[in-house]
Subunit: 453 residues, 3 copies
């Protein structure tokens, strides 16, 4: 064990949430899609904080069952009424244009226009977010209230976009640890102005990578900023060999709102990352939602496809799709908070701390308890339940450090925070009462104690 | 897979419930017991619908620890009061005479008569159903209200029955499938005028056998119509070798009332039939009762005795013994309904559909998702949760068709109906995205995914 | 099987609770500690009932990580005020002096005195129980009410104690059974006047040992009366080899109050003793608390240390530390009752009965049920659910006596009391329907039936 929990604590500073929020604010207005200059501009902003490696993959490149599509860019878009007023203007919100809309400039009747409009009748004041990556089409999105007020007249529509051979762009950054075993941290970069989904995730990971810079870690940490689905597929197709080094991973999205936290387990269901995250989320005061893996959601779908089956889970605050702001104009900068971003950051750091420090120790005096008082490790006045309670971590570690229980096993069984178990173990080790047996293997299964039914 | 789910759907027609009800009505009046002409007459009625093979096993034949008893037949029975009035008359209800009552004709006092009367004090208007197969005795059953009104006088009792060397009679019918592996469907035929228990079960199975006639099936289906306990024991004793072919089975009784549905698992507890039935009963809108195996009940007791331990469960509507009509004159034709019979039939057919079609497929593009849109299998406009929901079956099948999960595994895990999973798998197979790996073995255990704790 | 359940029943007589209570009353006033004459006097009282072997282990002896401390004895102690009145007097309650207080005789100010006083501010009328075995110190314990009324004057304090090289004393008694496999029953003897904790436990075990005298048992029963922690450690250090014979064990403490019952499982969690005790406590009418093992509590901490990991659980009424009387002067003779002591005794005897008699039988007619009526084992009139219910034990045993289920397995699965299962099995054995396959191994795990998920 080369990393005391206190080192990880250094990552958590007062200004953390504000920094991430400021970053999210900066990239919020950019019109991203699965390809194009919006993604490049976003990656440049990330590159301000970490030495990001940016990859460009040409249109037409085969990536497993998929093909890199043409690159989409957009300069302007509007709908004008007969008075020449722009009633819908891309400049006001990039959600107004369905992503990957083909170029259009024409005058059309209301009836025809309506076949190219998306609204949310049940949320009449919000603009929906829509895409059509693989079917050529164009559309505008608007509030349902505006939709209902449209007069029966001729409209002028313009979408000044381009769909041309180009590139799919993604960025990655590797924090080198002591081993080549990797921890993947992945955020999608393809959504336009949606603050929580996923300016929050990009900001959190960019700042985690930045703050880890000086930290000696056991694992190497791979930060991946790629468009959803096609981006993850592209990375996996180009990195099949590297993917085998991924021992743990998290997809990070929607980490700035006040809901949750939510953790969706990897397909394996009991991977170390699953156990570490679940243990971390069972902090007093949190009411986490823990979901079994299901093959819908974010890029864990690709990482957990059966041909890879990587131990990658999904961390979020509110569960995607279950909040009214999801994929609407209400997912704006007012929806996320610096405090929530900092809290999400802390939960992820605590989870990494578990992964880094889980190990199996051996009690050097396994026959009966050692006389802890001798070592100054134990309250000397008997009969006092309170002193006893504070000594519980000592007793749990000593009793279960028999070579078959890791610190995480003991933290789970004792219902004590991993950090307390870990720091207490280091103290026992200093007194010679505990010896390191082995670092916990990344894919070591939960030690099945005889008490499991 | 040679049977699309739609073929099984053909068995379910509008008039199904009415047909079964009409059959139950026809056999209801017959005075059945564990032997005798009532059973023969009932089997003849079944034989009208299917080419039933009827077996006669002589009195005295040893069947395991048992011996075929003498054959019991009854022509008439009554109790007359001093005025010569028949106050109890077998002609009105065959429940009035305890089954296997020995012949009697005598004049007796009220006091002595009472030692030969069965009533239900807590259900004073109902006649109980009673038997005494293995202890020579005679008795009448009557309402408790009548019992209490009996005057202290001398009564004339007649039971014109016979207990003579004869035969135990049962019938069986085999629907030949593509393999010799068998699915056993068993109903007891020994109860007199009890509509639900088990005119309903006999009627359901007779019509299931009849309707399956034209259907190509993987399994051979054995329909057994035999007296309870001694009949099942007799069949098992005479068919020890054949019994090894039974890979799945259901005892069917009390399938016409409005309660339940109830499924009692086989002794194995996780046999394919248990999983298939439980999955089927977890349809939305049903509130099934699932019971662990216990060694009391119907003929599953014999099929699941430790020397056989066959994978045979019990399907019912209300749970036996837990409704006031159970084993009384209230279990009459008003207690069962055509609609309930049809619903029970449908649940069994859906279960057979699972058993017939469960198979393990392999995703041909296991690395990342295939681009479903390419195949026209997927809604092309992203961000729309509703389209996504309807595509869930596709994603579940692709993600879990890794050679270790059968369609039933996937249906269970995804909580989607087997029929949807099966039909979607066939569609994926048509597009080359799925290959059949193997038919699911009848006794293949649930594929234990890594997520099982 | 050499012990019918009825033999164990003999241990339970009318006067049982009164006898144990009388014993507890006798030893209650003795001032015990982890060493000294109070322990010797207590063991002499136990020796009145059983031929107890008393061991004396010299001060300074190393026992694993510990050392036998000096022997502590006390003759008198008081606090006098300026008027020469004894405001605290050891003669009134031995709880007034912190155990292992070093000798003191001096005049001190109130301020200084207060640094040597223990009280319970939240329970102002109770005297706390405190010890300081391994840190040299002295203190008095008093009610908080008295503490608050202390005047600012000079006090004379006397503790006429001695801490000298001597011995640690413990007693043990072995009831020899047919095998050398042992059942350990252990009670701590180090607490002064605390009636429930543990005059009750000492009394219960002394009388259990006494009453077992004439009983032929399969296991040998080791009764250990030793000071808490250091006594158990001493016994284990001196009996490492013997400890390997311990196949089952119970620590017994606080068995006279009206709470609970409570059972804390052994570290193994599914040892036979765990299953037997839990089964016994699931009697109708009881609301037991079953706790997973945790490494704090009584001497199960030592027996279950990882170097021994013995199958030893803890039986109590109320859970320690969770009642206001715990470790206070309210744990007096009014807190325990003869009836509770007798009930605790009965629960332990029933548990021993399970351990002694658990065995695996084989059904001699495994193919279908035997015709129980033939053997007079079964109600002959069918259709009567009540008779059926009383026959359930027969059916459960026959169905599950397949060589993989022990009687305890069957009792657990059928939810019928072990005693009924056991006595019914003996009846079936008499009729040749059941053969003893093997005595259940002490550490045989629960037979995993196929129905386990």
């Amino acid at each position: 064990m080369n990393i005391a929990s206190c080192l990880w604590r250094q990552l958590l500073t007062e200004d953390l949430g504000e920094e991430i929020f400021a970053f999210a604010t900066k990239i919020f207005p950019i019109c991203r899609s699965i390809t194009g200059n919006g993604v490049r501009q976003t990656l440049r902003e990330i590159g301000v904080h970490i030495p990001l490696e940016v990859h460009e993959v040409p249109t037409g490149t085969a990536v497993f069952d998929w093909t890199i599509p043409r690159e989409w860019n957009i300069r302007d878009a509007y709908i004008k009424n007969e008075q020449g007023e722009k009633i819908v203007d891309f400049a006001h919100s990039n959600l107004h244009v369905m992503s990957y809309s083909v170029p259009v400039r024409q005058r059309i009747s209301l009836g025809e226009l309506k076949t190219h409009l998306h609204t949310l009748p049940n949320q009449p004041d919000l603009i929906p977010y829509r895409t059509s990556y693989y079917a050529e089409n164009w559309a505008f999105c608007m509030t349902h209230r505006q939709f209902e007020s449209l007069r029966d007249e001729t409209y002028e529509v313009l979408i000044d976009s381009s769909l041309t051979d180009g590139y799919l762009t993604y960025g990655e950054y590797l924090h080198k640890g002591e081993t080549d075993d990797e921890f993947l941290l992945s955020a999608h970069v393809c959504h336009p102005s949606l603050a929580n989904d996923n300016c929050s995730g990009m900001g959190l990971l960019a700042h985690l990578a930045k703050r880890m810079a000086g930290l000696r870690t056991r694992y190497s940490y791979r930060f991946l900023f790629a468009p959803g689905t096609i981006g993850a597929i592209t990375w996996l197709a180009r990195n099949e060999h590297t993917s085998q080094r991924i021992k743990h991973g998290l997809v990070v999205s929607m980490v700035g709102d006040g809901g949750g936290p939510t953790y969706k387990k990897s397909r394996r269901g009991n991977a170390k990352i699953d156990r570490a995250m679940i243990h971390t989320l069972h902090h007093p005061g949190l009411t986490p939602t823990i979901l079994d893996f299901f093959p819908y959601g974010y890029d864990e779908r690709q990482y957990c496809s059966p041909g890879f089956n990587l131990p990658v889970g999904l961390f979020q605050r509110s569960r995607f799709g279950e909040i009214p702001q999801y994929h609407t104009s209400a997912d704006n900068l007012e929806f996320i908070r610096a405090g929530h971003l900092a809290h999400s950051f802390r939960l992820i750091v605590e989870t990494l701390n578990v992964i880094e420090n889980d190990a199996v120790y051996r009690n050097t005096t396994p026959k009966c308890e050692p006389q802890l008082g001798k070592y100054g490790l134990y309250g000397a006045v008997g009969g006092d339940m309170k002193a006893a309670a504070t000594n519980m971590a000592l007793l749990w570690i000593l009793n279960f450090s028999d070579g078959t229980h890791s610190l995480l096993d003991i933290a789970e069984r004792s219902d004590l925070p991993f950090e307390i178990i870990h720091n207490t173990a280091l103290k026992l080790q200093q007194h010679g009462l505990l010896l390191l047996d082995r670092v916990a293997e990344p894919d070591e299964f939960r030690a099945v104690s005889a008490s499991c039914p």
